[in-house]
Symmetry: C2
Subunit: 344 residues, 2 copies
Amino acid sequence: MSLHAVILAGGSGTRFWPLSRAKKPKQFLALVTGRTLIAETFLRVEPLCSSARTWVVCGTDHVEAVRKALPGLPPAHLVVEPAARNTAPAIGLACFHALREDRDATLMVLPSDHHIARPDAFRGALSAAARACANGDLLTLGIDPTRPETGYGYLRRGAEKSAGVFAVETFVEKPDAATARRYLQDPAYSWNAGIFVFRADAMLDALRRHLPQVHETLTRGGDFAALRPISIDYGVMEPESQTTRRIALVSGDFGWSDVGSFAALPEVRTLDPRGNALSGDALAIDCDDCVVLAEGGRLVAALGLRGLCVVDADDALLVIPRERAQDVRAIVDALKAQGRGEKL
Amino acid sequence: MSLHAVILAGGSGTRFWPLSRAKKPKQFLALVTGRTLIAETFLRVEPLCSSARTWVVCGTDHVEAVRKALPGLPPAHLVVEPAARNTAPAIGLACFHALREDRDATLMVLPSDHHIARPDAFRGALSAAARACANGDLLTLGIDPTRPETGYGYLRRGAEKSAGVFAVETFVEKPDAATARRYLQDPAYSWNAGIFVFRADAMLDALRRHLPQVHETLTRGGDFAALRPISIDYGVMEPESQTTRRIALVSGDFGWSDVGSFAALPEVRTLDPRGNALSGDALAIDCDDCVVLAEGGRLVAALGLRGLCVVDADDALLVIPRERAQDVRAIVDALKAQGRGEKL
């Protein structure tokens, strides 16, 4: 087995504005530790596969940001998507590149913007998945749910294929609240975190069967930008699970978080005694459960606040209640409508 | 009658931090209109007395700020207190200077950091007081209370001395809530706003009787800094009211506000349709009854806030609930304790 890491860094988003910008999306922010999320991702898997076998897939806009964040990445391993077409084309591209270098490549596909509190357990699960995929199975990592989350997809496991490795019976859409509460009680359900382990040749085979246009574009040459955007879950994993029993999962509790918004930071960061997540020159007096990020080089003084996010960047400042942190996109939309691209 | 205006600009305070600083206290901030409070004060009385008869008393630290705020003030009318000793010595100093220039001077003493929504009515009351003080009485302007305020002193009026001019029977300390509610219903009570009108020679006479050290220091020369701090109310007006009937008041409703903290701004500023007081590059989405001052040259975006003050200055930012706006001094104290004078 020849293990490679593929870090998907094509994501963009607005939920961390004003820290995140078009040129600097979430994966390039140091939201949890002193390092960027992508650098943490890179270092997290280094014990399993050296940087010489690590790959990053990103868009043209973020090549510089990746180089800066990951100086140890081999330049030839920075794979630039000609256009953002979701994870299936991106993963196909990574398979194609890795196979050119290593006919025996096994890929661990990792989102670049997640946090893992227990990296040892995480690496253990990746190793187990890497062993289990030697037969050509496509493995996914399931996360043991810790709350009745309605914002994620779920995996339902079926028969045990080998010790700790289960066939994936169903890919489940985002459930309603009652269903999510039921899933939380049922050990058969895991969160689908978009983490995959497979032999590159097995994935290209699956792409040929389920997404022949993607396969043809990659292997015979073609217009990548003309491909329709599709995720690997919808495009390959789910149809494959319905036709073969080659989709399997290893699940566990790794302290995983997708760090979905500013509201999630208190769950993953070191807090002060009153539950506040602070950074930079932040002064919080009589505050509880707040996020106060002073990233603009100036003093941010907060007094008497409850459950509020205050985020100061260089040229813009955000104040929003934690329970509305997802709505930051309304601000981004308003700025777009005002033609204020310089702030986006 | 020879009418002069004396603007008291010796005040310092912390309730408008981070906009106000040691070198730039509240009177030098444009908190209500596009002009500073002291410039508004200066312009408000110009119809009654030309700038050639306007005086400003301030401390050495604020000479430059006064010159910048009031370019029309005659340089010789900027009276610098050798030390801050509260209003009695400051007013005595102004009397002394004005009398040297004009033996018949009648002074209107005005705090430099208040707001008056109805300046015509205010000037009418000042004119009535100026007429009434020709006999040597010391006049004060009373404000008709509009709420059961426990933070102010009150004046209780007695017999009518002439049309609309009443003897001041008592100076009342800050009352408790029940008493303040009673005063609100009783037309005999006015707020004491620290606005006075008197002949300068009459005030010097009163100072000689009640504060002989202040009088002697001013008239014979002496160490101003050695004087004990005392207000004109405690030092002159109140004892004079108990021994003579020369203390009188004219009262009215002028839309007066002492602009006591950021929380007061919605009462005196133009608001958006949801009751927010905004300045600079402030973007408020789904906010109610907030104060969002973007005075630091950068975008301040607020979403989903209720009754919060967000104040961005160049090098520091404050977020505090309106009902705790008075507690900003706790932040200033913490910064002092941390030796961070550069922010004060």
